[in-house]
């Protein structure tokens, strides 16, 4: 899968789970500090990424990813 597609689908998931608009998102956006993720939403994000990409990620490693760009890089390893 092309990186651009991963990025676009990651952004879509982030908008949906965190209830933010796409214009708020940059690769540097921090899930908590910039997008207001609560602790439970971090878990929701991991689950939503797994469903979106039909992958199973290492939970602990996935939860340590704290930016949108980091999530794209992380998921790119699986697809």
């Amino acid at each position: 899968m092309e990186r651009a597609e991963v990025e676009q689908r990651v952004n879509k998931v982030v908008c949906h789970v965190l209830n933010v608009t796409e214009d708020m998102i940059t690769p540097e956006s921090h899930f908590v500090f910039d997008l207001g993720a609560e602790s439970t939403q971090s878990v929701e994000l991991v689950a939503a990424f797994e469903a979106e990409f039909d992958i199973e990620m290492d939970d602990e490693a996935a939860l340590s990813v704290d930016t949108v760009g980091g999530a794209v890089d992380f998921i790119a390893q699986y697809v």
Binding site: M24, V32, F33, D34, G36, E38
Partner: protein, 721 residues
């Protein structure tokens, strides 16, 4: 919209106080809560909601990325997005992003921050590093920081009305300032205080105290016109010297305010395996006692005692002395109260003839008109009123305790009303103990409403009154810088310059304490029996032989100690035997020589110790000495250098003091000389940073006519840099 109510808040009462650096913590004109979430029941939400609902008089802004509003208040993505000035930020973000939030606050020009978030030094090395970065950011931007890892700050001043905490409720306004290192304890205290109708002026949980510490908070509350008394719960004391300096300023002088404190927890240093007796006994907690004593902080053991004493001080006038009159309707509680009063240092005075006559006239024949006054079980309000009024007017009485047991004819409510009437015009403190729970409840309520301190047990009332006495006595106690005694500092410098890390040899250690004026016996390190005999002849018999070796700590375990050698033959035989036997028992030991000294006459054995504490600097210990010092732990501590008053207090504080006074027909020791030795030990360890530990154990305290003599001394040095 932003949540704005009245004009900007600021509890300015004097110009100095108005400009106090911590005004931005307690009376901010605007607050940003950074990291708010919309989920009720979470700390980020509840903090914001508490500020909003407490009636805060300034403006509050939620910083909640991705949210349009919180509780109908317009939310901001970043603190930098807020158009207006922000005085204070309350940060509730997870620890991983607190630094980023803090930096934005600095860039915004925020003056104070309260970091509620946990996950810093309390979680280990990474947390320590993260906390250090917060300190660095605060320093860079000149922000005052409360926390991290705290409950928050409450200011009940009606002009501010700030509850920037996640406590369930805002406490009532009152005159008590409460500071706590534990956030959880704060919530329990607030609940407790509500039930007891106790109000607070300021309520602060300062958590890891990475920024503002109890020392700065003392200064603020000292200047705060809304605060009369300061209560502290402390887990970790980092700057004992700084605390003493500030607490003395707060508790004495023109505007004295008492500080009552609970200190819990022990530092790892306290468990440090130390080589000396002083080292092993000088746990952080023991030294903390000394710090509090020298700071004038009244140390209490429980939350109950903390508030018992606080309400006594806050609600009643300062008594002129320690004389207590007790009025009771039951003999047993009266005796219990008398016992408790005497135990805590209050006195039970005799009444004047006039008072006794008034009591006789007002009470039945069966009543006891002496102190404690027993008005008898069937007493009603008139009898109580007459007795309490009479004792309060007695010039021999400084304060009164009214005890009531609920008997079938006891009109509890009327008696309470009568006490309240007397209290309204009394110039002396009154406390009550209406014993029981259900029946006496109505009376207790009346007393509490009138701010008459009430205690379930008369013993608690006595403890509270004793704590107030401690405050009174502390204010009268002379304190001042110690005057250095004449010593031969150069001689010690010379010895230490030539010594490496570790224990000094015995001969040198004796020379060191001798140079500082402690009475040491003459001694000579000998390598042959002939030398030993010659030394013993010169010093006089009986003589003592002691092995000297860097590897031998406990001489008696290797037969390295011979006492009472009465002539030259005994010295020669003992010398040869000791050298041989020590070599057999501990062949790896390097024997420097055998020390010859005259035998020291018997006397009481006391220990004088010194230890360099990582938090408090040089400390001094005094106690019952000899081989049982660690068994009985009858010791007390002070911070070096000692003044006369502290040395005298330390010597009198140990149980063994009565032995020194000549208990049970024994000869009294020269107490003044012992105190002087203690001051000299303090001066020695204060003068030389290289002395890590020092034990003069024992100092033989002989009868006053014979004086004292150092029998043994050990000194451990740091490396010579």
């Amino acid at each position: 919209m932003s949540a704005t109510a009245a004009p900007p808040a600021c509890s300015a009462h004097s110009s100095d106080f108005e400009h106090h650096p911590l005004q931005a913590v307690f009376a901010p004109r605007s607050i940003a809560v950074c990291g708010v979430t919309p989920t009720p029941g979470t700390v980020p939400f509840d903090i914001f909601y508490n500020i909003l609902s407490s009636g805060y008089r300034g403006t509050v802004y939620p910083v909640a990325p991705g949210k349009r509003s919180i509780c109908a208040v317009k939310a901001y993505r970043y603190v930098l997005d807020i158009e207006d000035e922000v005085d204070q930020a309350v940060i509730v973000f997870p620890s991983s992003v607190v630094e980023r939030a803090l930096r934005q606050c600095g860039e915004k020009g925020v003056k104070s921050v309260i970091v509620i978030s946990a996950g810093f030094r309390e979680v280990g090395p990474e947390g320590v590093r993260r906390e250090q970065r917060l300190k660095d950011v605060c320093r860079e931007f000149g922000m005052s920081m409360i926390g991290p890892n705290c409950l928050g700050v409450i200011n009940t001043d009606p002009k501010v009305q700030l509850n920037a905490s996640f406590a369930r409720k805002m406490p009532a306004n009152g005159r008590i300032g409460f500071l706590s290192q534990s956030g959880a304890l704060c919530t329990a205290v607030l609940d407790y205080a509500q039930e007891k109708q106790i109000g607070f002026s300021k309520f602060v949980s300062f958590g890891n105290k990475a920024g503002v510490t109890e020392i700065e908070l003392f200064d603020y509350l000292h200047q705060d016109p809304e605060t009369d008394i300061i209560l502290l719960y402390l887990e970790e004391l980092r700057d004992g010297r700084g605390l003493i300096e500030m607490a003395r300023r707060v508790t004495r002088g023109d505007n004295p305010k008492p500080i009552l404190a609970i200190k819990s927890g022990r530092t790892p240093q306290g468990a440090d395996a130390a080589g000396s007796h002083t080292g092993s006994l000088a746990g952080e907690d023991s030294v903390c006692d000394a710090v509090f004593r020298e700071a004038g902080i009244i140390r209490v053991n429980s939350i109950e005692q903390l508030f018992n004493s606080a309400i006594m001080y806050a609600y009643q006038p300062m008594p002129a002395g320690d004389r207590l009159a007790i009025v009771t309707n039951a003999g047993g509680p009266g005796v219990m109260a008398t016992d408790a009063a005497v135990r805590v240092g209050l006195s039970i005075p005799r009444f004047t003839k006039e008072t006794t006559a008034r009591l006789k006239a007002a009470l039945p024949e069966t009543a006891n008109v002496k102190n404690p006054v027993d008005v008898i079980g069937d007493a009603r309000a008139d009898r109580y009123g007459a007795a309490v009024e009479a004792v309060l007017e007695d010039p021999n009485v400084d304060q009164a305790l009214v005890i009531l047991t609920p008997q079938s004819m006891t009109d509890i409510e009327s008696i309470a009303e009568g006490v309240c009437r007397l209290h309204a015009t009394a110039t002396k403190p009154i406390a009550c103990s209406f014993m029981g729970a259900a029946d006496v409840g109505v009376g207790i309520k009346l007393l509490q409403d009138a701010h008459i301190p009430h205690y379930i047990l008369p013993e608690w009332a006595c403890e509270a009154m004793a704590d107030v006495q401690s405050v009174r006595k502390w204010r009268q106690q002379p304190i001042g810088p110690p005057t250095p005694l004449p010593v031969d500092r150069a001689a010690v410098e010379s010895i230490l310059d030539g010594a490496g890390e570790g224990y000094l040899g015995e001969e040198q250690a004796l020379a060191v304490v001798g140079a500082y004026g402690l009475p040491v016996p003459p001694c000579k390190l000998c390598n042959t029996a002939d030398e030993a005999v010659a030394a013993a002849e010169r010093f006089g018999y009986p003589a003592v032989l002691r092995v000297v070796s860097p590897q031998i700590v406990h001489k008696s375990e290797v037969h390295g100690l011979e006492l009472n050698l009465r002539d030259a033959d005994a010295v020669r035989t003992a010398f040869e035997r000791m050298w041989r036997r020590v070599g057999q028992i501990m062949p790896e030991a390097q024997i420097t020589g055998l020390l010859v000294r005259p035998m020291i006459p018997s006397g009481h054995e006391v220990i004088l110790g010194g230890k360099r504490d990582p938090s408090f600097g040089p400390t001094v210990m005094f106690g019952l000495g000899g081989i049982y010092v660690e068994l009985f732990k009858d010791v007390t501590f002070g911070l070096a250098p000692l003044d006369q008053y502290t040395a005298a207090h330390m010597v009198r504080q140990v149980k063994a003091f009565r032995l020194l006074e000549g208990a049970r027909g024994g000869a009294a020791s020269d107490i003044d000389a012992i105190q002087e030795c203690l001051i000299r030990v303090g001066q020695l360890i204060g003068d030389f940073d290289r002395i890590l530990e020092l034990d003069v154990n024992p100092l033989i305290a002989g009868p006053a006519s014979e004086g004292n003599m150092v029998a043994d001394v050990r000194i451990r040095l740091a490396a010579n840099e």
